[in-house]
């Protein structure tokens, strides 16, 4: 039976990849996006391109039931809300969630009602090893890496500490349990840190807190490392992140791999990355981090890419 299913999957993939494949494959791949447009559309279009324009149906979040009804071989949920909507349904198909942070996926997957049905994810978070390697390359004099960890990121502490140690860095941590803790925790952390590594956690880093955090760092001459272009623009000296196109491409590769092998891998971090530099901030801090393209080449050469 399993063998038959694999053959079927390979055949489906062939159909998807075939330029002349029929348009309406009701039980092919269906995507459900949290929202239309923007990053979601970019992920879907690059994923389609990766799958050679195959039949990838798009469904709006409001029509999530249609995804269930279609009984597809594989559903791709783009964004945390889409992922959650499908996970909450006990009739859900095999599910690949993409374009979402690790903490969000872990939270959603923990409430999975049908654990026997395969589920995995293409995550947004850069591997901590790569982040630490970047810090070593771009800011070699900064040895004490400060992180603010809230409820959503608390579980990353061991991984961060281990990666820091491997790169000859030390990790200093401020644990933030309530919004009121942030100010004091931040000031305490900055007193013992050479740089601040932003770790995704909506209670710690959001549009309301970013002003205080970045101003406090710059006032103390401490650079920050962000996880999105918006952070670099807002005022982190440097940032490392995957673009929606990178996520889309990698999601397409993951879909093909699953369909060909029938094996569902563990949630994947982005294999590709982009580096952003805020020159004005770097100059103000008297640090020379070099240009983003060179940094990327050096980071890849250093073997930090998994």
């Amino acid at each position: 039976m399993m063998l038959f299913r694999r053959h079927l999957q390979a055949a489906m993939l062939l159909m998807l990849s075939w330029p002349g494949a029929p348009c309406a494959v009701t039980n092919g791949i269906v995507t459900l996006a949290s929202e239309s447009g923007g990053a979601y559309a970019e992920v879907i279009s690059t994923m389609r391109a990766e799958l050679k324009g195959g039949n990838v149906e798009m469904t709006e979040l409001s029509d999530a039931d249609a995804v269930i009804d279609a009984q597809p071989m594989l559903a791709v949920a783009v964004g945390a809300q889409a992922c959650q909507t499908l996970v909450e349904n006990s009739q859900r198909p095999p599910l690949l969630c993409t374009l979402l942070p690790r903490a969000a996926f872990e939270r959603i997957a923990a409430a999975d009602r049908v654990p026997s049905v395969p589920i995995s994810a293409q995550l947004l978070d850069q591997p901590v090893q790569r982040q630490m390697a970047l810090i070593r390359l771009a800011l070699p004099r900064k040895k004490r890496v400060g992180v603010l960890l809230g409820a959503e990121s608390a579980t990353f502490e061991n991984g961060l500490a281990g990666a820091a140690k491997q790169h000859g860095l030390t990790l200093t941590v401020a644990r933030i349990s309530t919004a009121a803790d942030l100010s004091e925790g931040l000031l305490r952390l900055l007193a013992d840190s050479d740089l601040l590594l932003a770790v995704p956690d909506s209670q710690v880093f959001n549009s309301g807190t970013i002003q205080n955090i970045l101003r406090a760092t710059i006032a103390r001459g401490i650079p920050s490392v962000g996880f999105s272009p918006a952070y670099v623009r807002a005022g982190t000296a440097i940032g490392i992140y995957a673009t929606p196109a990178m996520i889309g491409t990698q999601t397409g590769q993951l879909v093909r791999r699953i369909l060909l092998s029938g094996n569902w891998p563990a949630p994947q971090p982005p294999s590709d990355f982009e580096i952003g530099v805020n020159r004005a901030v770097a100059r103000s801090l008297s640090i020379d981090v070099g240009d983003p393209a060179t940094l990327k080449r050096r980071l890849e050469a250093a073997g930090a890419t998994p």
């Binding site: 964004g79 942070p101 903490a103 100010s183 209670q203 309301g208 002003q211 805020n278």
Partner: protein, 667 residues
């Protein structure tokens, strides 16, 4: 950008699917929102945290200029240094800046600071800014010493001291530099802080601060009292009370509003026993201000800022005078008041990839009211100022700053202060700076229009000051070479400035023989203000910072000054040598021991003309942080001037050894 934010707020509060779609479509179509419409609730991590737009926090004017690219020498005193120094006021901290002279005498109503010489009995050759607001009082000779006392050290984030003329950026009065005080961000001072200091010589300081706020609205209220018995030999007991309030409001991602208001009530002993013309008495100075600032981030590399402030000052300074018959006893009064209104605008932007331009203007209106000092009911001065500075990164290692200020004063006409400075990064961490800067100080209202007359029962008994108004602005022209070296291997840095400052038309006093037709009998001589011959100050100064061990830091300052062509009075105001040293040792558990040693060569303060012998002073402070429950506390003991008493301001005024203890609790 503002519209974009509002859109997000609407999207965050949609209640039904359809409304949400509608709003989202509205946002996307009307405002071309990139990537994602941002929903602010609920707060759980999602891809929005990676792709949602964020406000530009560190826009161009928010970013501090690196110290090796500033168009002049800058010394920064941060909170750590303020704490370990044991200082009780801003003037005290200036001992840690190369080239500065400090006096604890309050004879002129507050402790004094000067740079490269005590050219006045008040601090009137530097600009002092507290969060961009000038505290230069136009009353009498012009003075910043009272203004420096109007805030609590606990509220200060850092002090940037610009050594040498910076009239280009901060206008006339910044003729010998700027003391730029930046107070703490109210988001960092939430909660209750209580501090008490007490010790020898009547030292008695108290402070209560409360900070609160959320969601872009933050507030701080600080009240403090300070007092001590002053220098022995002087009638110098002094005490003050300050209340300062600050409110910051960020209504959206691009706009910021800041409101400040405060009151300062300062009492200082002055005068001398047995001198009926200047008897021992208490002078009271009152300050009240309010300040409103608005800043808009136009883009990452463009800001617009506007500011308005109003300051009122008044001084009560009177004493009874016993007169021979037929006159009856009367009161001599030197009091009066002053006020100013300032409106300024500043635009910062990048006209090209390698350029950054700051330009703006200021309107300033000053009123001085004191019949006893001016023999007129009120005097007014209007200032109009236009300034600009272009920073041009000629090459990655070459930064040129070119700027000028044009200022018109209704009292002394138009003047300009150009500056050209080149910073050359020889290697990473090694910078040479050379250039020229000009500054000027228009005469104060007192120097231009003083007229002190003693009139009793309609009879003019005496005229002591008659300013004829001929005095012209002082001009400073400095040429300098600076070197900044950063030595990571030695964990040290050096900031060296070698300079030649030419001072033209410095204002001094000259006797003025009152005309023969005066009713005074016999004819007397009054004091007028005149411009003195040009002279030159040459010298070098440096600040060395070294981390001697992982927990041991050393700060060393030295300055050497020489003059050419100065008359004997001015020459005596310039100390040939000065040095200061601060050694800080941190112990396990957080205890900090700091040892400060300060030396100044012999000098006099102009207006007093009494040579004060060379002084040296050693301070010791031990601070111990600890926790009680959830409260962070620090207990500290400070001994100032461990050695012999030294003369300060006058040979007969002595700074004695004094010890005090302090306890600070942050709830």
């Amino acid at each position: 950008l503002g519209s974009r934010w509002r859109c997000r707020r609407i999207a965050g509060h949609h209640s039904t699917k359809n409304q949400g779609k509608l709003v989202r479509r509205y946002c996307l179509s009307l405002l071309a929102l990139p990537l994602l419409a941002h929903a602010e609730t609920p707060l759980s991590l999602s891809e929005r945290d990676f792709f949602a737009d964020l406000p530009v926090v560190l826009s161009v004017s928010r970013l501090p200029q690196p110290i090796d690219e500033t168009p002049g020498a800058v010394t920064v005193i941060d909170r750590d240094l303020i704490r370990v120094s044991g200082a009780r006021n801003v003037a005290d901290l200036m001992r840690l800046v190369p080239g500065f002279q400090v006096s604890d005498s309050v004879v002129g109503s507050a402790p004094l600071v000067a740079y490269h010489g005590g050219f006045s009995e008040v601090s009137n050759h530097m600009q002092v800014l507290i969060d961009r607001r000038s505290v230069y009082s136009p009353f009498r000779l012009g003075d910043t010493s009272q203004g420096m006392q109007t805030l609590a050290l606990e509220d200060i984030e850092r002090i940037e001291v610009i050594r040498g003329s910076d009239s280009t950026a901060y206008g006339a009065r910044a003729v010998q530099g700027v003391i730029n005080v930046v107070t703490r961000d109210p988001t960092e001072t939430h909660g209750l802080l209580v501090s008490k200091t007490a010790g020898d010589n009547g030292i008695d300081d108290s402070l209560v601060r409360y900070g609160w706020g959320e969601d872009g609205r933050n507030f701080r209220l600080t009240a403090e009292t300070r007092g001590d018995a002053g220098l022995t030999g002087a009638h110098g007991a002094n005490h003050l009370s300050n209340v300062n309030f600050r409110a910051d409001w960020r209504p959206n991602a691009t706009d910021e509003w800041e409101f400040r208001a405060g009151n300062s009530d300062q009492f200082a002993g002055t005068g001398a026993a047995g001198n009926p013309g200047d008897p021992e008495r208490e002078v009271r100075a009152q300050w009240r201000y309010l300040q409103l600032d608005w800043r808009r981030t136009l883009a990452a590399d463009a800001d617009l800022a506007m500011s308005y402030s109003h300051t009122d000052t008044s001084e009560t300074n009177d004493f009874p005078v016993a007169l021979p018959p037929p006159f009856i006893a009367t009161t001599a009064d030197f009091g009066g008041s002053a006020s100013n209104d300032v409106l300024s605008v500043q635009h910062t932007f990048s006209p090209g990839r390698d350029f950054r331009l700051v330009w703006g203007g200021e309107l300033r209106s000053e009123q001085v009211r004191s019949v006893p000092l001016y023999n007129k009911p009120g005097l007014s001065t209007q200032f109009r100022r236009l300034f600009g500075n272009l920073e041009w990164r000629i090459a990655p290692v070459l930064v040129l700053n070119a700027g000028s200020m044009i200022e018109h004063s209704s009292l002394s006409g138009a003047d300009s202060a150009p500056r050209l400075m080149l910073n050359w990064h020889l290697t990473p961490g090694q910078t040479l700076r050379f250039g020229r800067a000009a500054g000027n100080r228009p005469p104060s209202m007192f120097e231009k229009a003083a007229n002190i007359r003693y009139v009793v029962n309609g009879t003019l008994l005496q005229e002591t000051y008659v300013a004829l108004g001929q005095v012209q602005p002082e001009h400073f022209r400095a040429s300098e070479i600076g070197y900044l070296g950063d030595f990571p291997a030695l964990a040290g840095s050096i900031d060296l400035r070698v300079f030649r400052e030419r001072i033209d038309s410095m204002v001094g006093i000259a006797p003025y023989a009152l005309p023969a037709n005066t009713k005074l009998n016999p004819p007397q001589t009054a004091i007028d203000f005149v411009n003195l011959p040009s002279f030159v100050i040459r010298g070098a100064e440096y600040q060395l910072k070294v981390k001697l061990a992982s927990a041991t830091r050393l700060l060393l300052n030295q300055s050497l000054l020489r003059n050419d062509g100065a008359n004997v009075d001015i020459a005596s105001a310039i100390p040939r040598r000065a040095s200061s040293l601060l050694l800080i040792q941190r112990f396990a558990g957080g205890a900090e021991l700091s040892l400060g040693h300060y030396r100044t060569g012999q000098m006099s303060w102009q207006g007093v003309q009494k040579l004060v012998p060379a002084t040296q002073r050693t301070d010791l402070r031990l601070g111990m942080p600890f926790r009680v429950g959830g409260s962070r506390c620090e207990a500290a003991v400070t001994v100032q001037n461990i050695g012999q008493p030294y003369s300060d301001f006058l040979p007969t005024y002595q700074f004695q050894r004094q010890a005090f203890a302090s306890l600070t609790v942050q709830f």
